[in-house]
């Protein structure tokens, strides 16, 4: 069993979605993939509603382009597993499209690009066909951002995959970022970035506990 080989050898499979989480914030990634906490807020709920449509496994053809929804992806070379929201096959060449929802801003595309890069690497390994491009689709603006799968992006995917794996094996949680990233983070209430901070707030609160 392939799955069991990974875990027995201490070679944890890394979820494609974890690449984006880690790129955005290592702690967010650890909260989801190490701590297995997931908190829903309005953005993730909306996201789920969008995904319910995208995430029905099916395939169809439109104007000569074959489209696969919810395609299972893997790379044995990097130890990546996951799913593509959508893969288009343009004359046989895979073109992954990753759906993003909520307040997705252009500057966050770089993090989604890492996930997309991971998908491209998986598709190359699975089909034996080079995947030069893909896209990130922002649901709220109905815009597609095309991403070129450059060699820089490929090395970034490789480096982040290794970092995520190390984190999963260590089972530890990086400290909170406690910066502007935290504002729209769906895990804010779980992460408690400002309350935890560097621990000094809790320390002084506890120190004052016994004095009136």
């Amino acid at each position: 069993m392939e799955d069991e080989d990974y875990t027995i050898a201490g070679f944890e499979p890394v979820f494609l979605s974890a690449l984006e989480h880690y790129s955005y914030c290592p702690r967010q990634c650890a909260l989801i993939h190490v701590e297995q906490t997931f908190d829903e807020n309005i953005y993730t709920l909306r996201g789920r509603a969008v995904h319910q449509r995208v995430h029905e496994v099916d395939s169809f053809s439109e104007e000569g382009v074959r489209v696969e929804h919810s395609l299972a992806l893997w790379s044995n070379r990097l130890g990546l597993v996951g799913q593509a929201d959508l893969v288009e096959f343009h004359e046989g060449v895979p073109y992954p499209v990753e759906y993003k929802y909520g307040k997705y801003r252009e500057r966050d595309i770089e993090h989604a690009a890492v996930q997309l890069g991971g998908q491209a690497i998986c598709l190359e390994e699975m089909t034996g066909i080079a995947v030069p491009k893909g896209a990130v689709y922002c649901h709220n603006s109905h815009r597609r951002y095309e991403i070129t799968i450059t060699s820089e992006l490929r090395s970034k995917v490789q480096a982040i995959t290794a970092a995520v794996r190390a984190m999963l094996l260590a089972g530890e949680l990086p400290p909170p970022a406690n910066d502007k990233r935290c504002r729209n983070c769906s895990l804010n209430a779980v992460c408690m970035p400002s309350a935890i901070g560097d621990g000094s707030k809790a320390r002084s609160l506890v120190a004052g506990l016994f004095r009136l």
Partner: protein, 343 residues
């Protein structure tokens, strides 16, 4: 976690709770009495002979809503739990902390400090509102003794010592509980704290409220992936939710005692809301439990500022926040467990 959802209490004997699409319907003798969208609810508590359909049970398990079954007097019987989720590493840390006497001591000590501070807050408020000089003096004396317990606590070096201080503080607090009652003292003066069974009206009221608080603390512990049986202040016993009982210590006075006192002092609860059984045990009756459940729900909606989060949140969220902070402490994110205290 972001918002406090309502708990539906179904207390009508023979009621049937079923799902109609995304709406929960409570039927009594074939006619719908209550209708509420499922997504407005954090959980369902059924008292006594209440039927609940598999559809409701499945939907609740899927979304992490709790269903708790209590018997007709509010004693815990069962709860519906979905698949084991969450964090095995957290549970490991929870067990390891129990084997580390310094960690156990630190957590238990802070929990008890929270409890004593919150008890003292209620006592001082009672002193300010007292109508008789004698009550005011008695309550101030109790507050001083609680302050003494707090300073003993700071110097405690063993868990047994912490438990001893907690017990003494609880006795001090209950010994002057009668002074906090201003209405109908003839009917509502407690004779100390009696449980299993409660032997006077105040104790019946408190026992029922504590069952409600415990249910919320259990849900809070489960919700963050903690093992509700592995506690630090409360010793481990098979079947005892020691961690939920630990978490509850900070909330007994804030969530339960306060509600009990308000109900009695405003004469919303009267002797008519109780029944006495042969031999001297006392229980709330059906209308009494309804009155209390409504008051408890209202209390949970009141907002307070959390001492560490420095953010206004409904009181009902506090057990969840504290469970989260305990989890964060166990996982090494926080240097010490910060208990919930309020002014």
């Amino acid at each position: 976690m972001e918002q406090l959802l309502n708990t539906l209490y179904v207390m009508t004997q023979g009621a049937y709770v079923r799902l109609d699409h995304e709406t929960l319907k409570v039927e009594v003798e074939g006619s719908t009495q209550v209708q509420v969208p499922l997504h407005h609810l954090g959980g369902i508590i059924c008292l006594g002979n209440v039927l609940i359909s598999p559809g409701v049970i499945h939907a609740c398990a899927d979304d992490g809503r709790f269903i708790v079954m209590l018997d007709h007097v509010g004693r815990f019987k069962a709860r519906v739990v979905g698949p084991t989720t969450g964090n095995v590493l957290l549970r490991r840390a929870q067990h390891k902390a129990l084997d580390d006497s310094q960690k156990t001591l630190a957590i238990a000590r802070n929990l008890v400090a929270g409890k004593i501070r919150n008890a003292r807050t209620i006592v001082l408020r009672g002193a300010r509102e007292a109508e008789e000089k004698e009550d005011e003096a008695g309550l101030r004396e109790t507050a001083n003794r609680l302050a003494c317990s707090l300073s003993h606590l700071e110097r405690s070096t063993a868990i047994e010592e912490v438990r001893g201080i907690e017990g003494e503080a609880a006795r001090t607090y209950f010994s002057s509980f009668a002074r906090l009652i201003r209405a109908d003292r003839a009917a509502f003066t407690p004779k100390g704290r009696t449980r299993r069974p409660p032997r006077d009206r105040i104790n019946a009221l408190l026992s029922f409220l504590y069952a409600l608080v415990l249910t919320d603390c259990l849900a809070a512990a489960e919700g963050v992936g903690l093992d509700p049986q592995v506690g630090y202040l409360h010793t481990l016993r098979p079947g005892r939710p020691a961690l939920a009982l630990d978490l509850m210590e900070e909330f007994r006075t804030v969530l339960a005692d306060r509600v009990a006192l308000t109900l009695v002092n405003r004469r919303q609860i009267t002797p008519d809301h109780f029944e006495e059984r042969p031999g001297g045990s006392v229980y709330l009756n059906d209308s009494g439990r309804r009155e209390v459940a409504v008051a408890y729900q209202k209390r949970k909606q009141e907002t307070v500022t959390h001492p560490l989060l420095e953010r206004a949140e409904p009181l009902g969220m506090m057990p969840h926040i504290q469970a989260r902070l305990l989890a964060r402490t166990l996982r090494g994110d926080l240097p010490e467990y910060p208990p919930f205290t309020y002014r």
